[in-house]
């Protein structure tokens, strides 16, 4: 199983990213509801790229750490960046027409979640989910 890179330019690419993420998660060994949870989290961070940065990419990679197995999802863009990450991670906060549940929601769905954002440079979101 190798790394999959999904270029994100439009709303159709959001579907491609979550479809490929679900497929990889299935190969890693995730089951039923976890696959949906992972696909939903990917959908939120991929939409974040389309909405704020217009383009970027989602990288999907299997993880092996001792006996632990999981999936790594990285969303990268060179968009405007997030001025106040703490604020952006609050439920209900949105600078677009969204309901502001995308990023905090994705964090709740995954086991690990990290945002690295620099204004004017872009945003990288790293998420991990481990098989329970």
């Amino acid at each position: 199983m190798n790394e999959t890179r999904v270029p994100i330019h439009s709303d159709a690419d959001i579907i491609a990213a979550r479809h490929l993420g679900r497929k990889l998660a299935e190969q890693v060994g995730f089951s039923g509801s976890e696959l949906t949870v992972i696909a939903t989290a990917i959908s939120e961070i991929a939409r974040n790229i389309v909405e704020y940065a217009r383009s970027g990419e989602v990288v999907l990679r299997p993880m092996n750490q001792g006996s632990r197995r999981g999936i790594l999802v990285v969303a990268k863009d060179r968009g405007p960046g997030i001025a106040d990450v703490e604020l952006a991670m609050q439920d209900g906060y949105s600078t677009s027409k969204g309901i502001g549940l995308g990023l905090p929601g994705a964090r709740r769905l995954m086991d690990e979640f990290d945002i690295d954002s620099k204004v004017g440079k872009g945003t990288t979101i790293t998420m991990k989910k481990w098989i329970a």
Partner: protein, 119 residues
């Protein structure tokens, strides 16, 4: 892909066939708002059985659709939310608010029939 909308009596049934892009969802909203008037629909069923993901955009749009159609005099029922989709929605923090839901198409039709008000 455009969602097919069938007319049955004074109900409209939109049955989603595959994953929808954001643009497809917005198209569905506009189609239903227009058809509700053209066919004088009193009830709308949106069948989401085929959706394997309902993220914040999908939920926001479905809620908007039910509110718009309510203003157009029709009741909307969302049917067929899959168990794992419901699980992920709850974990994400999404709710459907006051939107009516039913297990499947049959239950959705029964719900609309019970809610019928004489015109």
């Amino acid at each position: 892909m455009r969602v097919p909308i069938l007319k049955q009596g004074d109900y409209l049934i939109a049955s989603i066939q595959s994953a929808l892009t954001d643009a497809d969802l917005v198209q569905l909203r506009d189609d239903l708002a227009e058809m509700a008037g053209r066919y004088r629909a009193r009830g709308i069923i949106i069948d989401v059985t085929a959706l394997d993901v309902m993220d914040s955009f999908a939920v926001r749009t479905l809620r908007a659709i039910t509110h718009i159609l309510r203003m157009r005099g029709a009741r909307t029922v969302i049917v067929g939310i899959q168990p794992e989709v419901a699980f992920a929605m709850v974990q994400l923090g999404l709710t459907l608010g006051d939107t009516m839901t039913a297990l499947d198409l049959e239950e959705g039709l029964a719900l609309l029939n019970r809610r019928r008000e004489p015109r």
